[in-house]
Symmetry: C2
Subunit: 207 residues, 2 copies
């Protein structure tokens, strides 16, 4: 602790605001609440963020950019649609387990953003969903998946996976790895492809 001396208050504010927004919602958290959690007075926050709205926008865009970058990394060297879909599920579930607060406010507080910020976030979300949509489309075209409607299934899979944040708890019955693999299997089955997991069951795709 010789160079961290000077003020990581900015990140402290980020961290506490994220936690409080996630717990109580943006509108229900006051700047005083955040300041108190950080250990400063309310006025001090404005040395680091121009407004409450800016603070929220900072958290949300920061999260989405990190998320997309990490996704690209996770899929960079995976080629065929089946493997890419599995990798996507593992990444999404794992990320949501690790950063439930980031993910929760990015989903929930879009409506608390003023129009320009909201539109920016919406674009980022579309970009993320687009990756999954492309995987499903490619798999469907190659006859690997049985998908009634790619757009609907894209959103269905994302909603299903994102729900992990509702129930997953560290130290719970299911560990991180088991949870990820459960979602992988459910997802693969949901697109009509059954993994020959135990070897005893198989799905006859095509005649």
């Amino acid at each position: 602790m010789l160079k961290t001396k000077r003020s990581d208050t900015r990140n402290d504010v980020r961290r506490e605001a994220l936690r409080l927004f996630s717990e109580n919602g943006y509108a229900a958290v006051s700047m005083r609440d955040i300041a108190e959690a950080v250990g400063i007075r309310q006025g001090g926050i404005y040395n680091h963020f121009a407004s409450k709205q800016d603070l929220l926008a900072d958290l949300m865009t920061g999260h989405m950019e990190t998320l997309i970058e990490a996704l690209n990394e996770a899929l960079s060297d995976v080629a065929n649609p089946v493997a890419r879909l599995q990798a996507f599920v593992r990444f999404h579930v794992g990320y949501h387990i690790d950063k439930p607060d980031d993910v929760f406010i990015a989903y929930m507080e879009l409506r608390s953003l003023e129009p320009d910020h909201r539109e920016r976030l919406h674009t980022l979300r579309d970009r993320y969903e687009g990756v999954l949509r492309d995987i499903l489309t490619e798999g469907a075209v190659h006859g690997l998946f049985r998908i009634p409607d790619v757009a609907v299934q894209t959103r269905a899979i994302i909603a299903m996976m994102t729900g992990v944040t509702v129930w997953y708890r560290e130290g719970g019955r299911l560990g991180r790895r088991d949870t990820m693999e459960s979602y992988v299997q459910m997802t693969m089955q949901s697109v009509g492809l059954i993994e020959p997991a135990g070897g005893e069951r198989q799905c006859s795709i095509k005649p």
Copy 2:
């Protein structure tokens, strides 16, 4: 209009509060906002509801009780697990399409409830989820479904279906019926059972 004369203000308040809470969140909506939407002054609401908190609790419990009753109705004369699962999906998706606001605040505003109300709602939600869990359990026991973890899959399916509220719009590309059937197919596939929809594909369950 001869007997509706006297004041259905109470229901007007319910309707507008529901809409505003759903649009902006409980904490971001003031009693003045609600009163203005109804067409009265802020004090008038207190002739019908004891507090803002009571108003929210009334909306949420009212919704959950209606939901559960309607579910029981929808499943009352359906026997085998496969048909019951299909009926559950059709019911859930249909209900969520018809009453997106009710459903959204029941999901989102649990945290805005004081502990006693919240616990009550939590019990109702567990009862609802329990119906699906029982269906999945029975189907798995009979070897009809291929489910890695019944508890996880229960929540996964509910999260997947509930997501319909995010994108479904009346008059959109997919109609109500088509949407329901898309979710039916995705759900049936997700539990490892493939409907012989066109007849050309089949899943060999068990040797």
